[in-house]
């Protein structure tokens, strides 16, 4: 690996990963205060994936994500305040507060959820790509999903359909080695997820998901193929979640030792180390980035706190399109 040609870009990657980390640490705190309720799935440990992958997309491209999507929405550019307000359930949230943690939506950034049925996003991504193809638009649709989703029929049906119709879909598997409490080897007969692409005749590639530069490079390459009309592409990012599956998880299925081992490969600490080694980052730089992020998060919390609740009379609004 080389010293990045563009130092500002490298610092931006670090900043984005830190934003996700600090934002989510704050949400965990707010959860214990009861400000955030329901399910809360943290992405901590996996930040390099969303940050690296989303660099490769342009504003015209689409994103479909899962219930573990705080990081993706942040990187995509939805303001932190709008996301925090959504987590509070306030009407100034990115989905009027109706979805909460698992259901971020942002039409202006072509962010189609926040879909919480495992595997449910893949067919939708195929359809978004079909619409682009039919209308001759050079856009791609990036679909994030976990290793657990690979066991669903929808994964297999979607890969086949997208490959069969040569649709511009990026299938982005965040393999964090567990589907809730079930380890990869206990839910997959073939644990090499990237290889599954072969069965459906599309390219598949595994990448170190703890290395933001590797994620960025691999995704950029895949986007080029897909945008160039080469049909869909499967990328498997090998990563790890440092926190519990959700806030209610006793974590009986893995050892503390294993988690500690992975924390040694913390994507943020690793990248920070590299930047220092390359003399691209000083302690002052880092302090400035952290201060910036802290201010952004304070503002986001204030925005959420100040938000109003959606009036109860609006409960059945938007079940259907309003007609005048």
């Amino acid at each position: 690996m080389n010293v990045p040609a563009d130092r500002n870009h490298a610092l931006e990657l670090l900043r984005q990963m830190l934003r996700i980390r600090r934002f989510e640490e704050k949400t965990a705190e707010l959860y214990s205060l009861g400000k955030i309720r329901g399910f809360l799935h943290l992405y901590i440990g996996e930040e390099a994936v969303a940050v690296g992958a989303l660099q490769a997309l342009g504003p015209e491209d689409a994103v479909v994500a899962t219930y573990r999507e705080h990081g993706h929405a942040l990187v995509r550019g939805t303001p932190a305040g709008s996301l925090m307000a959504e987590l509070y359930g306030k009407a100034n949230g990115c989905a009027r507060g109706r979805g909460g943690s698992m259901h971020f939506f942002d039409a202006s950034r072509r962010f189609y959820g926040g879909l919480a049925i495992v595997g449910g996003g893949l067919p939708v991504a195929v359809g978004l790509a079909l619409a682009d193809k039919l209308q001759g638009r050079p856009r791609v649709t990036a679909c994030f999903f976990g290793d657990g989703a690979v066991a669903e029929g929808e994964f297999h049906e979607s890969l086949n359909l997208a490959a069969l119709w040569k649709l511009p879909v990026l299938f982005l598997c965040e393999n964090n080695l567990y589907a809730m409490g079930t380890a990869l080897a206990r839910h997959q007969s073939q644990t090499d997820i990237a290889r599954k692409a072969q069965a459906y005749n599309l390219p598949g590639e595994a990448v170190d998901g703890m290395d933001v530069l590797a994620v960025e490079a691999a995704t950029a390459g895949a986007v080029e193929t897909v945008r160039g009309g080469g049909g869909p592409y499967l990328l498997e990012y090998r990563t790890y979640r440092f926190r519990a599956h959700s806030m209610y998880d006793a974590e009986r299925y893995r050892t503390k030792d294993e988690v500690e081992q992975w924390k040694q490969r913390d994507p943020i600490a690793a990248f920070e180390g590299l930047l220092r080694e390359w003399k691209c980052l000083t302690s002052d730089d880092l302090a400035a980035i952290e201060a910036d992020i802290a201010a952004e998060i304070d503002k986001a919390v204030a925005f959420a706190e100040a938000g109003a609740w959606e009036p109860v009379e609006d409960l059945t609004k938007d079940v259907y399109t309003e007609r005048t």
Binding site: G100, I117, V118, G153, M180, V319
Partner: protein, 326 residues
């Protein structure tokens, strides 16, 4: 009859343990039932006790493992399949509706499917639209399956054991809100899964309900009693085949009926109950049948909207007062 204080969750677990101990053909299969200990901890410790052959962690493949449950039942086993929640059972709908429910009849009675399918159901925990469905009424539309909705600690265990004696598929819906609830577990006797249960005697109105709504209805009945209104509360608990006789007997006594069902009103199971009353006790009614159901919208995340969408105690009491002109 011995009684022990326990939680709904522990009662389910006790039922599972007893079933696994009693019959070597029984096994449990589903997502995270083993190492994780069950999403709602209903199978905590069972993997250690019974081993991975009988406590089988399944991949996220609802259609495949529910279908495999059907196949295993056809092959002579007694599978208990846990689908984490009713929301995810939609991925297995084809297996349940097209295979489990039809094979006995379609084969001219040659095959039997003694499958027990358990799943959590219901809303009220702020987990938003995709995780809060109540589809037990939907499933009760389908001939060929039995639909149970245990609401008490005793039924949580007793209905599971009774279901395992059935030669045909049984779906058990456990309202997720009930798992931590404490109650008295009656150890004597099996639960009769052909009968609704009278949970409270009353003369003025029949509250007909099931699952998580039972407790709201009982609370509403208490509130009404303080106002001099005596509500009878019937826990339907078996949605199919429905114990119509118990419903009609209660309505003939009270002459008024309010149905409480957490599903959406349109096309709800409450509509079916109402139709049964029209057909069987129309001339005994002193007023129209009333329904308390969920608002016609996907369930939203924030508490105030979720509370407004779901049936609640005051809403039930209000519906009763409305009927009585009180």
């Amino acid at each position: 009859m011995t009684m022990t204080k326990t939680t709904y969750r522990e009662a389910v677990r006790a039922g599972l343990r007893e079933a696994l101990q009693r019959d070597p053909l029984v096994f449990l299969m589903g997502e995270d039932v083993g190492r994780y200990g069950g999403t709602y901890a209903c199978s905590h410790g069972l993997l250690e006790e019974f081993g991975p052959e009988r406590i089988r962690d399944a991949p996220l493949s609802e259609s495949a493992f529910v279908g495999a449950g059907i196949g295993a039942a056809l092959g002579g086993m007694k599978p208990i399949v846990e689908v984490m929640t009713v929301n995810f059972s939609l991925l297995a709908l084809d297996q349940i509706v097209n295979n489990a429910a039809t094979i006995r009849h379609m084969s001219g009675g040659q095959f039997s499917i003694p499958l027990v399918l358990r799943m959590a159901t219901g809303g009220g925990r702020q987990v938003a639209a995709q995780h809060s469905h109540s589809f037990e009424g939907w499933y009760a539309h389908i001939p060929g399956i039995t639909v149970l909705t245990p609401a008490t600690v005793t039924d949580a265990k007793g209905m599971l054991l009774a279901a395992l004696r059935e030669p045909d598929p049984v779906l058990i819906f456990e309202h997720a809100y009930l798992y931590p609830m404490e109650g008295e577990l009656e150890e004597a006797g099996l639960v009769d899964i052909s009968k609704a249960a009278l949970r409270r005697q009353g003369r003025d109105v029949s509250l007909l309900t099931f699952g998580g709504s039972l407790w709201k209805s009982l609370e509403a009945a208490e509130r009404l009693a303080a106002e001099g209104i005596e509500a009878e509360v019937i826990d339907l608990r078996v949605l199919r085949p429905l114990d119509t006789a118990t419903i009609l007997a209660s309505v003939r006594k009270t002459h008024r009926a309010v149905i409480v069902d957490e599903a959406w009103r349109t096309g709800s199971f409450a509509a079916e109950i109402s139709a049964q009353i029209m057909e069987g006790a129309f001339y005994d009614l002193d007023g129209p049948v009333a329904r308390v159901c969920s608002a016609e919208a996907p369930l939203p995340y924030p508490k105030h909207l979720e509370d407004a969408a779901l049936p609640n105690v005051e809403g039930i009491a209000r519906a009763v007062r409305g009927l009585l002109g009180a």
